[in-house]
Amino acid sequence: MCEKQNVACDCGLRKFEKVCRILDKYDRRPSKLVPILQEVQHEYRYLPEQVQAFIATSLGLSPARVFGVASFYANFALEPKGKYVIHICDGTACHVKGSERIKEALHKQLGLDDKKTTTSDMLFTVEAVSCLGACGLAPVMTINDEVHGQVTPAKAVELVNGIREREQAE
């Protein structure tokens, strides 16, 4: 490949290379759309529009069909997320034990709200999820899949501050 190709283009090509590998793994079968999107999202942390279009063409589906599936399921992200994705459980058990206050505290600390969920420096994304299934430890939150139980607003803020300090030190 020509070394003088511009960087953006090169990035783009490599992007699709990975997608191709994932598509091949599932024999490009349209019925495997959900697992394909999951794996692609795992790779890029969200589903960029042109990648969705590429998948649609490769599987012989309409882009609307792929976008329809991607936008239907809660786990698919259509916007880029922060480096640390914080999920605050809002299941019944967590809710009655005050998960809302944890969300409020984190929103306040990070300058976020229900509409703006990712910080401008792309470090944190804060989302409420319906139930993480660790109800015995309510209220629960996860930071990039690491589970923290019996969280208080103060502890949540402390965890976030700790991460930010570590990031700044690096």
């Binding site: 399921y73 009655v96 430890l137 309510a138």
Partner: protein
């Protein structure tokens, strides 16, 4: 491909021998709850400390090793007592250590493993009676339970297929494939009276018997592990704690209907369950239990694991199938039922995880033996996830017919206040069955719980989530919480569910924010019955349940919001009326200093007052008050 099939008899025998050669087993709970509390660090510390102290340690019992160790250190799935985690069990003494930290490991090794004594400071102490219990089966939380489906969950290594086989695993599947005809399997399960544990309670045997005679070579079994109910985690614990048992149930279901392909659909929010069930399938394939010519019966069987993508509606069987087919997870009208036309138009059976995990037991011990537990209409046991304002949260299993009082006050240890202290008269309600269910109140405490009795009072067992609520909970807010959930999760296909739930949510918001009038309640009830009648699938049909059942039992609370513009529990911010109780206030000034709008006045050591006009009802004062003197705000 010719597989090298495992010799189950020999494997089991070898494992049991190896196990006997080891003097003591230490089991560290590695369910999601305990892992979150650091149980994996405890496990690592145990391995290092035992080796450092010169004990002979085994971490995996092998067929070929001579395993004459002193200690066998292993991990298990959820042991159920999540509140007290990380948990460490010592066998054969059945000692249970709670809240174990890596620093405690040295003591465990020194006292228990070397000097054969329990570590007194690590055993469970009942918070109410201050009585200490050394052995697991003595603890009230376990004593009242009958763990049948969960029997091995928390005792065995979920990632070791040989241990499952050594305990008689896959024998029932073998029997179903080798000694029984599909009709016999269906009949046995029908005779057991097993009803679907996913919520509906439809007889499992009948579902299978309806699918069996459908024509066509290709049929499917789907295991529904898309447990989306907030407040429920029994399927997760089963898949994490004993994945092989779920798999064995799937194989028996496949035999019963003549299917050769199965899917396990697991929530993506349960990464550990996904990982363990994937490993179970891979290990079973490697052992020749899954694959071609299963148990030399001439039949093939494959199983695939698929991760869900976060849609509550996919718990609905037709929506789940659409999701496997790569479509949006939207339900379609029935009939045709999945039994006739399911996945890719083929006859399909969908069962819940717990249902399938119960099946091997019925085939192994017979339907008569199974019926000895539970009630006539609902035989067997049910696992419940007990959470919320209760002293012992966790996963339990009791026979049908157990009362709510036994579950909450004896197993659960009683109702607690918002600070975690037991409040003897604090019980208000239990939300059963998640967003599809309803509320049970004090008058139902002595009612034997089973599918029919719960349905009779307008609720449902559902998947088995029990969320206990104390008297400081606002029931309007809880109804709003569930309504918001179903409104969010509505797939949008049918109008009554899509628009109806939205309007109901707004009506509830009107009530919570003081905009409601007498007509609001009427409209809410009318709308609720319209949504119930007109919705396409179970999600919409049951969405109004929490509203209707809270309205039935707590109508006065709704009316207080509407007429007096007051929230009796002091939870609804817009209606809060913070007040300082003069007899409790010590005049310390803590609230006065923290109030962001200077609404509190008062002299030192004299009762303070709140100016209602200035107050923004933020609740800061109530949070900082050490004397519980501020009421009406949370």
């Amino acid at each position: 491909m010719i597989q090298q099939k495992i010799d189950m008899e020999a494997t089991g025998q070898a494992y049991r021998q190896a196990r006997q050669a080891v003097r003591r087993r230490v089991i560290v709970c590695a369910g999601t709850g305990c892992v979150a509390n650091g149980s994996l660090k405890v496990y690592e510390a145990l391995r290092q400390e035992t080796e450092a102290r010169g004990l002979e340690v085994v971490v995996k019992l092998g067929d070929d090793c001579d395993c004459k160790g002193d200690v066998f250190v292993s991990k298990s799935g959820c042991q159920g007592f999540c509140q007290a985690g990380p948990l460490v069990t010592i066998e054969p003494e059945d000692w249970l250590y709670v809240h174990v930290k890596p620093e405690d490991v040295a003591d465990i090794v020194e006292q228990t493993l070397i000097h054969d004594r329990p570590v007194k400071r690590l055993v469970y102490v009942d918070p109410a009676s201050h009585e200490a219990f050394e052995q697991t089966h003595e603890i009230p939380f376990y004593k009242r339970q009958q763990r049948v489906v969960l029997a091995e969950c928390g005792n065995i290594d979920p990632e070791d297929i040989r241990e499952y086989i050594a305990r008689g695993g896959y024998a029932a599947a073998k029997r179903a494939f080798k000694e029984m005809q599909p009709e016999q399997v269906c009949e046995e399960v029908l005779a057991s009276g097993l009803r679907g544990r996913g919520g509906g309670g439809f007889p499992t045997g009948r579902k299978w018997a309806l699918t069996l005679p459908e024509p066509g070579e290709k049929k499917f079994v789907i295991c529904n592990g898309d447990e989306g109910d907030p407040g429920a985690f029994m399927d997760r614990s089963l898949m994490e704690g004993n994945p092989h048992r779920v798999l064995e149930g799937i194989m028996i279901a496949a035999r019963a209907i003549g299917a050769d392909e199965a899917y396990v659909y697991v929530r993506a929010e349960y990464p550990l369950a996904v990982q363990r069930i994937r490993k179970a399938v891979a290990d079973a394939e490697e052992a020749g239990i899954l694959g071609e010519d299963v148990f030399d019966s001439g039949r093939n069987m494959t199983c695939q694991v698929m991760e869900g993508a976060g849609a509550f509606v996919c718990g609905e069987e037709t929506a789940l199938m659409a999701s496997i087919e790569g479509l949006r997870g939207m339900p379609r009208p029935k009939p045709p039922f999945p039994a006739q036309s399911g996945l890719w138009g083929k006859p399909t059976v969908i069962n819940n995880v717990e249902t399938l995990a119960t099946v091997p037991l019925i085939i192994a011990e017979g339907s008569g033996h199974y019926r000895r537990l539970g009630t006539a209409g609902s035989p067997g046991t049910k696992t419940f996830a007990v959470t919320g304002h209760v002293a012992n949260t966790g996963l339990i299993e009791v026979p049908f017919g157990t009362t709510l009082r036994e579950i909450i006050f004896e197993i659960g240890g009683g109702v607690i206040d918002n600070l975690g202290q037991v409040m003897p008269d604090g019980f208000k309600a239990v939300q059963i069955g998640g967003p599809s269910g309803g509320c049970l109140i004090a008058e139902h405490l002595d009612m034997p719980l089973d599918f029919d009795s719960v349905k009779g009072i307008g609720a449902m067992v559902g998947s088995g989530g029990l969320v206990v609520m104390n008297r400081d909970t606002c029931m309007v807010k809880i109804a709003h919480f569930f309504m918001r959930f179903t409104q969010n999760e509505s797939c949008g296909k049918c109008v009554p569910c899509r628009e109806g739930t939205k309007q109901m949510l707004w009506l509830l918001e009107d009530i919570m924010e003081g905009r409601a009038t007498a007509q609001t309640l009427e409209l809410l009830e009318e709308l609720a019955s319209a949504v119930q009648l007109g919705s396409l699938c179970g999600l919409g049909k049951t969405a109004p349940n929490p509203v209707l059942s809270t309205l039935r039992y707590f109508r006065s609370e709704y009316e207080a919001h509407i007429v007096q513009k007051r929230c009796p529990a002091g939870q609804c911010k817009a209606l809060a009326t913070p007040e300082i109780l003069a007899d409790r206030c010590k005049g310390c000034g803590a609230c006065l200093r923290k109030c962001p709008v200077n609404a509190i006045t008062g002299e030192k050591k004299m009762p303070h007052r709140i100016d209602a006009g200035t107050c923004i009802k933020c609740g800061t004062c109530a949070q900082v008050c050490r004397f519980d003197a501020i009421v009406g705000v949370n």
